[in-house]
C-alpha cells in the first residue's frame, strides 16, 4: 500500500523539476511558485507513506528480508532532501537558483529509485 502512495509523489516531484527548469530558463517567477507548491504536495504524499514503511519494517522479523529497510531509508532520504528543497524554494526569486534546480533533480531520482524498489517488492509479494 505505502509503495503505491510513495509512487504517487513521483509526478509531483517531476512537475517541480520541470517548473524549476522553466523558471531557470525564462526568469518568470510564477514557475518557481508552482515548484514550491508541487514540492509541498510531494512531501505530504511521501510523508503519508513514511509511517507505513516504518511499520512494515518493524513488523517483518523474517531474516534476509532487507528490502523493507533499504526502501525505508530511501523513502526517508527522499523526504529529508525534499524538505531541504522546500526550504531552498522558500528563498526569494533567483536566490532559489541553482541549488533548487539541482535538489529537485536529486529528489526526483531518489523518488524514482524508491518507487522502483517499493513496487518491485510489491510485485514479488503478489507473485505466486
Amino acid at each position: 500500500m505505502h509503495a503505491v502512495i510513495a509512487a504517487a509523489a513521483l509526478p509531483l516531484f517531476l512537475g517541480a523539476l520541470l517548473s524549476d527548469w522553466a523558471y531557470s530558463s525564462s526568469h518568470q517567477v510564477q514557475w518557481i511558485n508552482f515548484s514550491s507548491w508541487l514540492i509541498a504536495g510531494g512531501l505530504v504524499v511521501a510523508g503519508l507513506a513514511l509511517p507505513w514503511a516504518v511499520a512494515s519494517v518493524l513488523r517483518t522479523r523474517a531474516p534476509g528480508h532487507r528490502g523493507g529497510m533499504a526502501y525505508l531509508l530511501m523513502l526517508l532520504a527522499t523526504f529529508v532532501i525534499g524538505f531541504l528543497n522546500a526550504l531552498v524554494h522558500a528563498r526569494d526569486a533567483w536566490a532559489t537558483m541553482p541549488t533548487g534546480l539541482v535538489l529537485s533533480a536529486v529528489v526526483l531520482v531518489l523518488a524514482v529509485a524508491t518507487s522502483a524498489l517499493g513496487l518491485a517488492s510489491l510485485r514479488r509479494r503478489v507473485a505466486p
Binding site: 514550491s36 526517508l76 524554494h89 522558500a90
Partner: protein, 436 residues
C-alpha cells in the same frame, strides 16, 4: 538485523540528520550598530531558514518607556485601533491615523507560514480605518478630549496639513478634508485628490508630506515584494516617491528605487524632502541597512537591482547593469532590519541641545534577525541641514525580559516641544515632554 538493531540504526540516522540540519540552519549574527554615511556592508548570506526573532507581545503593566534625563513620558491615549502616524494641528490637537491595510494574496507555502509567524508579533486588534482627534483643552498634559474625526477610511496612514486642508493617504487614495479650526469632526466626507497604486499592496502604507506652501504633496509608495519575487509587472509605480499637485491631482514619479519609503518629512532648514526607507530582507543580519535620506529629484535609489549604491542583488533576474550603475547612495544608514516607520524634524528653536537640530525616527523593530534591533525612537543630530553624528536613543525600553511591550511607528512634535509617538502594538499614543 534484529528488530532492536533496526530501531537503533533508525535512531542514529535520525540523530545525525538533526545535527546536520542544525549546523546548516545556524548562521552568524552580530549587533554592530550600523549608522552613518559609510556603513559596513558584509557579504550577503542566507541559510536554509531566514534568521528570525518575532516580538513576543506583553502588556506594559506599571512599566513606562525610557526617556533621556530631564524628560518625562506618559500615555495620552490607549485602546486605539492600531495607531500609525500622528499629526499635530495648529491649535495643538493631535490626529491619529488608525488602520491596517495589505492583505496581499498567498502565492507560495512560504507566504502562508510567514504570515502566521509574523502575525504573532503584532496586535490582534482590528484596524480602526479612522482618524481619532485628541485634545488637551486646559494644557495640563492630559488629553481629556477624544473624538472620532473621520471614519470609514481605507487604512489611513500618511497625514499632512497645508493651507487649512488636511490630507490623508489611504492605502488606495490620497484624500482631503477642509479643516476648520477647533473642529472635532470632519464636516463632510473626504474628497479624493488622486488615486494611489493599490494592486496587491504587499507594502501598503502610503507615507505623506506637504511642502510649506501646500502646492505639492509627496507620497511614499512601497514595493509589492521583498525583492521582485512577485514578478516585475506588479512593480509598476511602486517603490518610489510620487509628487502630487495638490490642486489638480496630477502625479509624477519624484524619485524611484526606494523599496519602502515609510515616512516623509521636510527638513526645516533647507526645506528639503527627506525619507526613511525600509530596505530588503533575507541577505543576513547586517544587510541591507535601512536608511534616512534626502530625496533627490529624479534619483534612483537601487531597488530591486542594487543596494546602497551600485551593489548588485543577484536575486533579481534578469539583471539590469544600467540600473545598478545609476544607483545613488542614500545619505545616512540606519541599523539593518530596524524598520524605521516614523520621521519628524525638530523645528528651529523649539528644543534645547542636544535635540535642537535633527530628526526623530521611530524604529518599529526587526524580525529578520536573531538579535532584535530597533524597538525605540532615535534622534539623528543635524548641522546645516545634514546629519552630523551618530544616533542617540530618545525613547527606548519597549522590550524587557525577552518580551515586547510596544513598537513605535509615527513620531511628531507639538508646539510645546513634546514628542508624540504612536505605538501600534500596545495601541497607545505616548507623549514625551522636556522639563521646563
Amino acid at each position: 538485523m534484529t528488530r532492536r538493531q533496526r530501531i537503533a540504526v533508525a535512531l542514529v540516522a535520525a540523530g545525525a540528520l538533526a545535527a546536520t540540519l542544525t549546523a546548516v540552519i545556524a548562521a552568524s549574527d552580530t549587533a554592530t550598530g550600523q549608522h552613518g554615511a559609510n556603513p559596513e556592508l558584509p557579504a550577503p548570506e542566507r541559510g536554509l531558514l531566514p534568521d528570525m526573532r518575532i516580538a513576543e507581545p506583553t502588556g506594559w503593566g506599571e512599566r513606562l518607556p525610557t526617556v533621556p534625563q530631564g524628560w518625562t513620558i506618559k500615555a495620552i491615549a490607549t485602546d486605539l485601533k492600531i495607531p500609525r502616524q500622528t499629526l499635530v494641528l495648529p491649535n495643538g490637537d493631535i490626529l491619529v491615523a488608525e488602520g491596517k491595510g495589505g492583505g496581499a494574496p498567498v502565492l507560495t507555502p512560504k507566504d502562508y507560514i510567514a504570515g502566521l509567524i509574523k502575525a504573532k508579533g503584532t496586535t490582534p486588534v482590528k484596524g480602526g480605518n479612522r482618524l481619532t482627534l485628541l485634545r488637551d483643552a486646559d494644557g495640563d498634559g492630559t488629553y481629556e478630549g477624544r473624538w472620532v474625526y473621520a471614519e470609514n477610511l481605507n487604512a489611513p496612514y500618511g497625514l499632512a496639513f497645508a493651507g487649512d486642508r488636511l490630507y490623508v493617504a489611504n492605502q488606495d487614495a490620497l484624500v482631503r478634508f477642509d479643516y476648520v479650526a477647533g473642529q472635532t469632526r470632519a464636516a463632510a466626507p473626504p474628497v479624493t485628490v488622486a488615486k494611489l497604486p493599490s494592486e496587491i499592496n504587499h507594502h501598503w502604507t502610503k507615507a505623506l508630506a506637504a511642502d510649506a506652501e501646500g502646492r505639492y504633496l509627496y507620497v511614499g509608495i512601497g514595493s509589492n515584494s521583498n525583492i521582485g519575487e512577485r514578478g516585475m509587472a506588479v512593480e509598476e509605480s511602486r517603490a518610489l516617491v510620487w509628487q502630487v499637485d495638490a490642486s489638480t491631482g496630477a502625479t509624477r514619479p519624484f524619485a524611484t528605487g526606494l523599496r519602502n519609503p515609510t515616512a516623509l518629512a521636510i527638513e526645516p532648514g533647507n526645506r528639503q524632502l527627506w525619507a526613511v526607507v525600509n530596505e530588503r530582507d533575507e541577505l543576513g543580519p547586517d544587510l541591507v541597512p535601512d536608511y534616512l535620506t534626502s530625496v533627490r529629484e529624479g534619483a534612483f535609489y537601487g531597488w530591486p537591482y542594487a543596494y546602497w549604491g551600485p551593489n548588485a542583488d543577484r536575486r533579481v533576474q534578469p539583471p539590469d547593469d544600467q540600473k545598478v550603475k545609476a544607483t545613488v547612495r542614500p545619505d545616512y544608514a540606519l541599523q539593518s532590519h530596524s524598520a524605521p516607520l516614523g520621521l519628524a524634524f525638530a523645528p528651529p528653536g523649539l528644543l534645547a541641545a542636544p535635540f535642537a537640530e535633527g530628526a526623530f525616527i521611530g524604529l518599529h523593530g526587526s524580525w529578520n534577525r536573531k538579535q532584535p534591533v530597533g524597538y525605540k525612537v532615535i534622534f539623528v543630530p543635524f548641522q546645516q541641514g545634514r546629519p552630523s553624528g551618530p544616533p542617540v536613543d530618545f525613547v527606548s525600553g519597549f522590550q524587557a525580559g525577552g518580551k515586547t511591550m510596544g513598537r513605535p511607528v509615527g513620531v511628531t512634535l507639538d508646539p510645546k516641544g513634546a514628542v508624540i509617538v504612536a505605538d501600534d502594538l500596545s495601541n497607545t499614543v505616548w507623549r514625551a515632554t522636556p522639563a521646563r
